[in-house]
Symmetry: C2
Subunit: 336 residues, 2 copies
Amino acid sequence: MKQSTIYDVAERAGVATSTVSRAFGVPGRVSERTRQRILAAAKEIGYVPNPHASALQSGRKRTIAMVVADITNPHFFELIRGAEQRAKAAGHTMVLVNAEESPRIEIEQVRGLVRQVDGFVLASSRLSDQDLLGLAADHEIVLLSRELPGLTSVTLDMGSGCRQILEHLVSLGHTELTYCAGPTNSWMGAARWSALRAGAEEQGIRVHRVGPYTPTVASGGAAADAALRAGTTALVAHNDLLAIGVMRRLAARGVRVPDDVSVLGFDDMFAADVVTPALTTLGGPFAGAGRLAVELLLGKLSADRGADNPEQTRLPTELMLRQSSGVAPVGGRLNR
Amino acid sequence: MKQSTIYDVAERAGVATSTVSRAFGVPGRVSERTRQRILAAAKEIGYVPNPHASALQSGRKRTIAMVVADITNPHFFELIRGAEQRAKAAGHTMVLVNAEESPRIEIEQVRGLVRQVDGFVLASSRLSDQDLLGLAADHEIVLLSRELPGLTSVTLDMGSGCRQILEHLVSLGHTELTYCAGPTNSWMGAARWSALRAGAEEQGIRVHRVGPYTPTVASGGAAADAALRAGTTALVAHNDLLAIGVMRRLAARGVRVPDDVSVLGFDDMFAADVVTPALTTLGGPFAGAGRLAVELLLGKLSADRGADNPEQTRLPTELMLRQSSGVAPVGGRLNR
DNA sequence: TTGAAAGCGCTAACAA
DNA sequence: TTGTTAGCGCTTTCAA
């Protein structure tokens, strides 16, 4: 059965096609009476608008794309869920694309989708600032988990987040920590390290850094070994995946967590709560962040292009205290 | 700057628009010489095809939708990744939608997307057989983690998978097991239970069932308590999430795993490997399953409609032996 | 508030 | 192998 069109509806309702179009599109531009008649006629013959015809003519596609650095990383799930939910609520379709941690793939994907979508949410983009600025010049984009002056972004506030971590550690008697860094091109990674350094000064705690490491459980082994050499009583890993790997290695080496060293992560992913010992980690409203990113994007889309003022939103974090962090050992430094 | 069209390219290359269209679409229908000329001209003026115009005219959208029962469930990530990857490789865009475990939302989502996509991959669909058959009558669909006679599907082979579980348990001296069932409308859940029952007879092991439970960590508490009442030495949970919840509750009650009871799950999700004790679970080629589902869908799309013979593919599973399963306790039944 | 009509950019039948 | 041309279904001026 062939899909019915606006013409069929127009004929059945005894109006012009333009009126039907208005009845579905612009609410106020058609009298309530005729609108009802049109809607009834449409329902009778099972009319469904053709989004392609609409997009072709108007340029509005009611579709957005979310590109995530790595679809495999559990960290993104909540972000994706929130974004998808918000897009759906606005009657938009969301396309999810995986950049596979590669700037090249990321930009290729975006380029390939520009004709199909109205805008992009880029989560943990691995693109250079220049590329990002270049894209933003021609397309509507909102950054998630990354900031760039001039662009709209949603991030978790690492300043206050890292301060929470430091306060927690200091209150437990730690005087030094080692940060196991993530990938060099991770903006969040850089944000974490600089927030940690800045906060450390205030709190009177010394910070070291080892890395960079790929943020996977597997890389945690090397990270743990390096961190152990640094000899601090606390280890803060780039994310939970790495932290879990670190704890594994520590266990294998007979180092007790948290008795000998405390281990902390970032992201509060599901597994953080089920590992033993349960991981103390910096969480936050991830689904909310995804939701907000889409919301801001939709806002930009409906606003007059150019009239938008980029907002950098920073959401509050929450330190999830669990078993992997504890009082600093009395002996102090543990150097192996 | 306005996007250039097929007309601009045609003019620049000195050919007709139809020739340009063919140069991009049907490879063999235009001479290599002119094709090169057209491609060069296109590149010069930065021409990018407009997918909406193409879709409007041809009906081909080069887009598919994957709808998953619950985007929140880590189990789906690998499936999604494989599917996305395959779609991308074929130059198709994949839309991901979340059915939120609701048949109503699921069918609504599908209905809302029929004009935008060429076909659907339905992962762990919660729809009734009737609804599924109804959809399949009008649209191209491939089932993932569900089978229905007449429809193309990709599943993990629960027959052999459950046999592996039973053999493992029997070889460890277990003579009874309790299955903690998942949601009633889960096809995989039903498949697991019936495979377990069928295999149990052959292997000479008794099976009990408790449930249904929502497959979450939180529900594991109730499941553990009920299973403990059954008094068997082995607990097989609907999935890893539930199994992890079961282990938690067991630990809280002072029941040792695997010394007192063995616990097994399904899905081999990431967390299964990091919980303590690490969970023995039935895994499989999930990314491959996602990939295959998309591949079959693409096949149906390119084949002459109607000429397709639905294939029910069952992929081999793999029992991941870890620490949560062990020799049956000498005392036998543990009834609390 | 409504209608008439001109496209949006592309594909595909048909013709050459 | 290539060109001509008629739409695909909708939105959007412009006019009434």
